[in-house]
Amino acid sequence: MSKVEATDTAAAAAAPVEKRNTPLRLAVYAVSGALLLALPLFSGDFYINLASQILIAAIFALSLNLLVGYGGLSSLGHASFLGLSAYFAAWFFTRGGMDHTSSALIALFGTTVVAGLFGLIALRASGLGFLMITLALSQVLWGVAFRWSSVTNGDNGLSGLTRPMPFGLDINGADSFYWFSLVIFAVSFVLMAVFTESAFGSALRGTRDQPRRMAALGFDVWLIRWITFVYAGFWGAVAGLLYVYYHKYIHPTSLSITASAEGLLAVIAGGSGTLGGPVVGAALVMILKNYASAYVERWNMLLGLVFLFIVIFMPEGLVPGTKRLWKRFTGGGK
């Protein structure tokens, strides 16, 4: 059994009966929402595009967090769903001759079905076994994307996809694509937040902390995990759609262990099992990747080092860590 060790204070912050909508919290939401909306008004294309990528990575990290943070299921193969959905959308549009709506629906539906199948296999185990199986499954997909070049175009990747026109709106510009991503992000954030707060979400957290007890209480632990796996796969697919519309291109590396690891790093770095954590973590990872790697040119090395740093020095993640410091600073909490 693997468990993410969280400190008591961090856990108390995530306690379910804590009063949710304090004025401070609402103010933080309002201000950050307004800032996010207005971002294109005061910044250049580079930062707007970076922000779009962060939003996409954040949806991906949030979906992975459902498994890692709330389900206690550490998946190292979540990029499968992002990549698969992107490949589906690109393939059915460029090779299958379908329109955007159909290819997007196929991508979402097909990926969710595959998530269901992968869940059936991976959830035969938990803990490290689950991690190894998800990793092996995703590597198999990656190998297929690389080798089956007659379909996937192999190492050259699939290109030629255009951006759709949702409700007749043109999202080819950096600004408009950003707003489009922001809307999708907001919807996914709210829906995933509702999921984790719901009765089902509470049951899910229960299966993370005491699976045996949950079974004895009448919860079907396996089914709860499987449903969560499928739901997380669906949101991974949503992230994949945005991803492929942003890049208009998809390559096997998007299915690789590095891609899965980036997602996991975002979750762990920000704080797993919290709502804001993966968003902050995704921003951190994308900023590092886009900005710092322009100077050091060694993204994998940097990724590895950040992994070591976070796991060794800040295992609880940035958001719970900062919350703890804030509470201590303001004398709140205990």
């Binding site: 306690a15 509702v194 049951a203 004895a216 009448g218 632990v221």
Partner: protein
């Protein structure tokens, strides 16, 4: 004769060749208070784990109210009215007491599949959870996390979580373990106050207290039933003394 609440027929369990349960047959009538005793390693908790379905026996049959459940997964048995407590306290430590009990209520309700409404907004479940906490005199700590309460209080939450489910068969695994004398009396009174229609099977080491609660006693040793019968008969039996006093 009425259908037994719990019937175990010729149960065997091996762990890698080592027998942990050997030819165990036990029948418990509805409403009975059954005590299971035996030295450490006698296979008492292993027996409980097979009754709840945490693992399946190598051979043999387990029936709940006449229905065979031998290979049924644990949550299905819970829905048939089986509840248990753990010898090693197994609570949701980061959560509040009321949340712990609410999970116990939620487990048997279809609400557990609701993916939209926050658990905390179900007022009826909260009221019921606090009522159940009242049964174990912990309602005043309802909104404190489990980490804040004492060991003895945790033992009571263990029992409360099972009681919240209004079980027909309740398995108590050493409910008195590690308690002080005063707390023992508390928990003993609590167990004594469980409604008569509930069948109670209890593992306990504290013979003095436990024997008071029990009507029938089963003595296990090396995974086998040594003596089984009414309270007085088992206590008086020569073999009981052999096992406990080393003849």
């Amino acid at each position: 004769m009425t259908t037994p609440a719990l019937e175990i027929i010729d149960l065997n369990k091996n762990f890698g060749g080592l027998p942990a349960t050997q030819n165990v047959s036990i029948s418990v009538q509805p409403g009975e208070r059954r005590l299971i005793i035996g030295p450490n390693g006698a296979g008492k908790t292993t027996l409980f784990n097979q009754i709840t379905g945490d693992f399946f026996p190598t051979s043999g049959t387990i029936k709940l109210f006449g229905k065979e459940v031998t290979r049924l997964r644990p949550h299905k048995r819970a829905h048939m009215g089986l509840a248990r407590t753990y010898q090693i306290i197994t609570l949701f430590n980061k959560d509040t007491l009321v949340h712990n009990i609410t999970l116990g209520l939620l487990g048997l309700r279809t609400t557990r599949w609701n993916m939209l409404r926050p658990l905390a907004t179900y007022g009826d479940m909260r009221t019921e959870a606090i009522r159940v906490l009242g049964l174990v005199n912990l309602d005043h700590l309802a909104d404190r996390p489990v980490t804040d309460i004492s060991y003895g209080e945790k033992r009571r939450v263990e029992i409360a979580m099972a009681l919240a489910q209004k079980p027909k068969v309740l398995l108590l695994d050493e409910p008195l373990a590690g308690l002080s004398a005063g707390e023992r009396t508390n928990v003993k009174d609590l167990v004594a106050s469980i409604p008569r229609e509930v069948t109670v099977v209890m593992i306990e080491h504290d013979m003095d207290t436990a024997l008071e609660l029990a009507e029938t006693v089963t003595l296990l040793h090396y995974g086998k039933v040594i003596v089984d019968g009414p309270h007085d008969a088992v206590v008086a039996d020569e073999k009981t003394r052999e096992v406990y006093l080393g003849h």
